[in-house]
């Protein structure tokens, strides 16, 4: 462990953050640096998930952090600071996305089957321990590519829940959708990613060659 901050337990962490917020409200603005430092990566990840562009995501993350500073008085003590900060980043990113793509017609076909059941397309066995796979750059690239291939509504839910480790309720609040929608989209996102990744990462190409994509092997 490199720094002391992370060694505090959850309630203590929240307490510590609450005190920092109070100091900032009392005019000690420098304390804000301490408050946001552990979350810089998460703010960027949320923005990147929506904007899919490094430079835009960085600018958006900066803007979100700045907004958090300016609106620090609106932060409620019962919330987690990280959740509040990421909600700001999500809103900022969505606003930018809408602005940038106002003249484009959003593809609707990706969302039309949202409520329908999802049938896995591929049954490749994926036994490799994921954390080992992550050591390889080409694997990380494939993972980023697969995530980018998801429809926006699925990617947002997946990133907040599985990458930002937010709860179903926190994800629902951040995106302004119901908990049921979060669960439906999350299921679909996870299964789609598995379909995209299992054949390659499972290393089972040879055994799966007889099954064309989209057909059932039974």
């Amino acid at each position: 462990m490199a720094a002391g901050l992370g060694s505090l337990e959850n309630p203590a962490q929240q307490d510590y953050e609450q005190r920092l917020v109070q100091r900032i409200r009392d005019g000690e603005h420098e304390a804000f640096y301490q408050l946001i430092r552990p979350y810089e990566r998460r703010v960027y990840a949320a923005a990147f998930a929506i904007l899919r562009n490094e430079a835009d995501a960085e600018d958006c993350a900066q803007e979100a952090v700045l907004k958090a500073f300016k609106n620090i008085r609106q932060f409620r003590a019962e919330a987690r600071f990280s959740t509040w900060l990421i909600e700001i980043a999500v809103n900022e990113a969505r606003m930018r996305r809408r602005k940038e793509r106002a003249d484009l017609i959003e593809p609707i076909e990706k969302e039309k089957n949202e409520e329908g059941s999802y049938t896995p397309r591929d049954f490749a066995d994926w036994r490799e321990i994921p954390s080992e796979a992550l050591e390889r750059k080409e694997v990380r690239e494939k993972l980023a590519e697969a995530l980018g291939a998801l429809g926006q509504i699925y990617r947002e839910v997946f990133v907040l829940r599985d990458m930002e480790q937010m709860s179903i309720e926190e994800t629902a609040n951040a995106l302004g959708i119901s908990a049921a929608s979060v669960k439906t989209r999350l299921l679909r996102a996870r299964l789609m990613l598995r379909d995209l990744l299992a054949p390659g990462l499972g290393g089972a190409w040879s055994s799966q060659l007889s099954f064309a994509k989209g057909t059932k092997p039974w």
């Binding site: 992370g6 804000f32 552990p38 998460r42 500073f69 300016k70 490799e128 669960k183 299921l187």
Partner: protein
């Protein structure tokens, strides 16, 4: 209760999030024992959750922190630090970077770590009994759906698990893990630390 393949596919996400009733969970596990297709779906979905939940998935662009702080200073009046403030911050950064380096180099002196994240930094009670798989990298509470290889499980204390280089499962041990700890533990404390990490590239 008997479940069909379609039921497993519909519930796999809730199953992994432990949001199914004990009856449904038992029925799914019974089905999995006999169905290789559904086992592949559940294993693969578990891998997806695990692999994307790893913080190495998100790579901050080099210089991100520095630019963020510059933007904050430039925009927020009254946030400019005093000379003394900067001195304290610089000293803290040096200490943190030093600690980071020391943490990395001390790894060499210890038994090989199974996981990058096994740094003995969690707050899992040391006496708590946990489950580890022989070729796994993480330790879990009994029954966690993220236990990988169910064939070679051992029950040991959390302290022993950490000593042996296992890292706490981010799911079942979540309440013991600090939300900021992941970002702090090997996040780019400054750009120096980021550029020294061979895993981190900025593509």
């Amino acid at each position: 209760m008997v479940v069909r393949c379609e039921d497993v596919w519909r519930e796999v996400s809730n199953y992994l999030d432990e949001q199914v009733t004990p009856e449904l969970r038992a029925a799914i596990e019974e089905h999995l024992r006999a169905c290789t297709r559904c086992t592949a779906v559940v294993d693969g979905t578990r891998n997806v959750v695990q692999i994307y939940g790893d913080e190495r998935m998100v790579e901050l662009p080099l210089g991100f922190s520095r630019r963020l702080h510059r933007r904050l200073e430039g925009n927020v009046s009254g946030t400019r630090r005093s000379f003394f403030g900067w001195l304290v911050a610089a000293a803290a950064a040096i200490l943190i970077a030093g600690g980071f380096k020391a943490a990395r180099s001390s790894v060499l002196g210890r038994p090989a770590l199974r996981s990058e994240h096994a740094r003995g930094s969690s707050h899992v009670p040391p006496d708590m009994m946990v489950i580890v798989a022989e070729d796994g990298k993480t330790f879990h509470v009994a029954g966690c759906p993220f236990i990988h290889d169910k064939a070679s499980l051992r029950t040991i204390t959390a302290h022993e698990a950490e000593q042996q280089g296992y890292a706490p499962c981010v799911r079942c041990m979540k309440k013991y893990l600090d939300p900021g700890a992941v970002a702090l533990s090997d996040g780019p404390v400054d750009d120096l630390a980021a550029s020294e990490d061979p895993l981190r590239t900025s593509e």
